[in-house]
């Protein structure tokens, strides 16, 4: 019973334990806040990639693309695990603003809007046509004109607050878009001896804010058929260079991607005598995360690095607890002698101090988590206030495509941090406690007697 009473009494009646609790709380607070924000940023980024690129992507890096995609899409639509499919053309082109005369080489993305909004969350990224995404390529000022959707960062200024200065009306801007068509063999198409270039004027019909900085600052979206034509991919057997696939709800993405891959392999075997079957060789079937690994992996690596860095914070916690327990036990050496003179065993002493460490860890974690939750709940308000008063921002929203600071906590993370805090306290307390338990009480009492 003493081993329950004493830790409680030591905990509540020793000021030094408050220091220990505060040290643990501070470490827990820091870890929870930083991990929540970092985890939120990574999750947000991966989620945006997922919703932009659907579940599975059949694609080739080749600008030539591949044929028979519509036949394969029909096969996919007949399966019981595919919800929708959408062809996508990724190309490059020269974009010239007809009003300002400025031009730039940009990424072009050809999308079949009807299929694309079923397969991805593209509709949510639109500004003017969010509620009527089917009309996204029809400029509101003249729906008969061919429209283009422009990545938001190409046209709209981002304020320091992170908000875009969207115009309340859609300006009638036009762009001359020029592409260099490729033949199915990969050569530049020629007219006579001259290289041919296809140009067409498109009218600004909307902008897209996908939340993916690189895409929003480099991509212009065109109707699938239009870009197919500009790239010469409509000559002979029509070609595309990607098909996005969305699986039905509840389907495992890895398993279904394997199924799509199997179907694709069967398909290309079956179509072995197709004139341009050689183009199938460059195609890969990947789940969204593998497809975007080049972009996601660095962030996940950063997160892993951060976890490692916080393991060092954990080590610091262990050291702080070690020092505090060393102090506590030095001060309590007389008490250890008394307890031993009363017949308390070595293990009894161990239990007393390890339970005290457990209490410190538990309370420290609880206090740290509580403050972290309060802080996170108000983090954006606090940042807003700091920005209004002092112009301070965690991230310059003019540069970084981050809206709100992520603040949604993950219960599992909180539990893991609390468990680590308790474990760190037990670990930090173990050595001084073992040393205390091993001391001969007569040594302690004799010293005190002098």
């Amino acid at each position: 019973m003493y081993d329950i009473l004493l830790p409680i009494k030591f905990f509540f009646r020793r000021r030094i334990t408050i220091l220990a609790v505060l040290a643990v709380a501070l470490c827990v607070f820091t870890v929870v806040v930083v991990m929540t924000v970092m985890n939120g940023l990574v999750t947000d980024f991966t989620d945006k990639n997922h919703t932009f690129f659907s579940d599975c992507i059949i694609s080739t890096d080749s600008l030539v693309g591949f044929g028979l995609y519509d036949e394969f899409m029909s096969r996919l639509e007949k399966t019981d695990f595919v919800a929708s499919v959408a062809p996508v053309i990724n190309a490059f082109g020269l974009v010239e603003s007809e009003s300002s005369g400025k031009n730039a080489a940009l990424d072009l993305m050809g999308i079949d809007i009807a299929r694309h909004i079923k397969t991805t969350d593209f509709a949510d990224s639109l500004y003017y046509r969010k509620d009527t995404p089917m009309l996204a390529f029809k400029p509101v000022y003249d729906t008969n004109l061919p429209g283009c959707i422009v990545g938001v960062d190409l046209l709209v200024e981002r304020q320091k607050s992170g908000q875009y200065s969207q115009l309340s009306f859609l300006p009638a801007w036009s762009y001359l878009i020029t592409c260099f068509p490729l033949t199915p063999k990969g050569a530049l198409a020629k007219t006579g001896t001259q290289l041919s270039a296809n140009s067409k004027t498109f009218y600004y019909s909307d902008n897209s804010n996908s939340g993916l900085a690189k895409i929003d600052s480099t991509v212009v979206y065109l109707p699938f058929d239009s870009l197919q034509s500009l790239c010469g991919m409509d000559v002979g057997t029509k070609r595309t260079n990607a098909v996005f696939v969305k699986f039905k709800k509840g389907c495992d993405i890895d398993v279904c991607t394997q199924k799509v891959s199997g179907l694709w392999q069967d398909f290309i075997k079956e179509k072995g005598d197709f004139a341009f079957a050689g183009l199938f060789g460059t195609i890969s079937v990947q789940d969204w995360k593998t497809y975007r690994r080049g972009t996601i992996a660095p962030m996940e690596k950063e997160q892993t690095m951060l976890i490692l860095l916080f393991a060092l914070v954990g080590l610091i916690t262990v050291f702080i607890i070690f020092v505090i327990f060393y102090m506590i036990i030095n001060r309590k050496s007389k008490d250890i002698g008394i307890l031993k003179s009363l017949g308390v065993s070595r293990f009894g002493i161990l239990r007393v101090f390890l339970r005290l460490a457990f209490l410190i860890g538990l309370f420290g974690a609880a206090v740290g988590i509580l403050f972290a939750l309060v802080f996170l709940a108000n983090i954006n308000r606090l940042e807003g206030w700091l920005f209004d008063k002092f112009g301070f921002q965690m991230w310059n929203r003019e540069i970084y495509a981050i809206g709100e600071i992520p603040h949604r906590t993950v219960p599992l993370l909180l539990l893991a941090v609390a468990a680590c805090a308790v474990a760190a306290c037990l670990l930090g307390a173990l050595l001084p406690t073992l040393s205390a338990a091993g001391r001969k009480c007569v040594d302690v009492l004799r010293v005190n007697q002098l």
Binding site: M1, Y2, L342, V344, K440
Partner: protein, 235 residues
């Protein structure tokens, strides 16, 4: 040879030395002492004569380098670690010069600590009411019934020592070992504490008390004088 079974506590040719840096300090050099049940023995000697060391060895807080200590004829050297703890808890009651109370506990909790130390959580659950009753009774006998909820720092030196005596008596030990129990008190308060020991002795309690004060030793039934690690006189 003396039959050790006749004595509650005895020691046979005890030697003990300490290493103090490069110097070896021989504290006890062949001490023989037998204590009968119900006896009040005072061990007298100057500072450094080895009297506290002898008391610690009697109470199994320390072990001799040579020689044996016997409790009711059984050698303490043969006791296992668990049995030594039980011996300290049940058979011995220690009273120290500096009281050695735990500052975080109340007076009542300090007294109960002796009982708690020897009980499991379940055992305590069963015995706690009786233990609290006995602790209150002891504190009442010590004139501390109004102080049960106080903490040690709120008490005078004499009161603290009486709490320590109550704690030592909590488990109804066979022997009370007192190490200079009045050494930190003024003479009037010290006299009060001595009276408590005399009363305990009259009730049949075996007491071994260490003191350097001849007047205090005179209150004991038997006085053993230690000098240079040996018994120099017994009367």
């Amino acid at each position: 040879m003396t039959n050790k079974n006749n004595y509650i506590l005895s020691c046979n040719d005890i030697y003990k030395s300490y290493q103090m840096g490069a110097t070896r300090l021989d504290v006890l050099r062949g001490v023989n002492l037998d204590v009968s049940r119900g006896e009040f023995v005072a061990v007298r000697g100057a500072s450094g004569s080895g009297k506290s060391t002898l008391l610690h060895i009697f109470g199994a807080l320390d072990t001799p380098d040579k020689g044996g200590v016997f409790f009711e004829g059984q050698s303490l050297a043969r006791f296992s670690g668990g049995k030594i703890n039980e011996f300290r808890n049940k058979k011995i009651g220690f009273v120290f010069q500096f009281y050695h109370l735990l500052d975080e506990l109340t007076v009542l909790e300090n007294v109960l600590l002796a009982k708690m130390a020897g009980a499991s959580a379940l055992g305590w659950f069963v015995a706690s009411d009786a233990a609290k009753k006995r602790a209150r009774q002891l504190l009442d006998e010590m004139g501390l019934s109004q102080r049960v909820r106080h903490r040690p720092f709120q008490l005078s030196g004499g009161e603290r020592q009486r709490v320590a005596i109550a704690r030592a008596l909590m488990n109804e030990p066979d022997i009370v070992l007192a190490d200079e129990p009045t050494g930190n008190l003024d003479s009037q308060t010290g006299s009060g504490i001595l009276k408590v020991f005399e009363k305990l002795h009259r009730q049949g309690q075996t007491i071994v008390m260490v003191t350097h004060d001849e007047r205090i030793a005179a209150k004991a039934q038997r006085v053993i004088k230690l000098a240079d690690g040996r018994i120099s006189a017994a009367y």
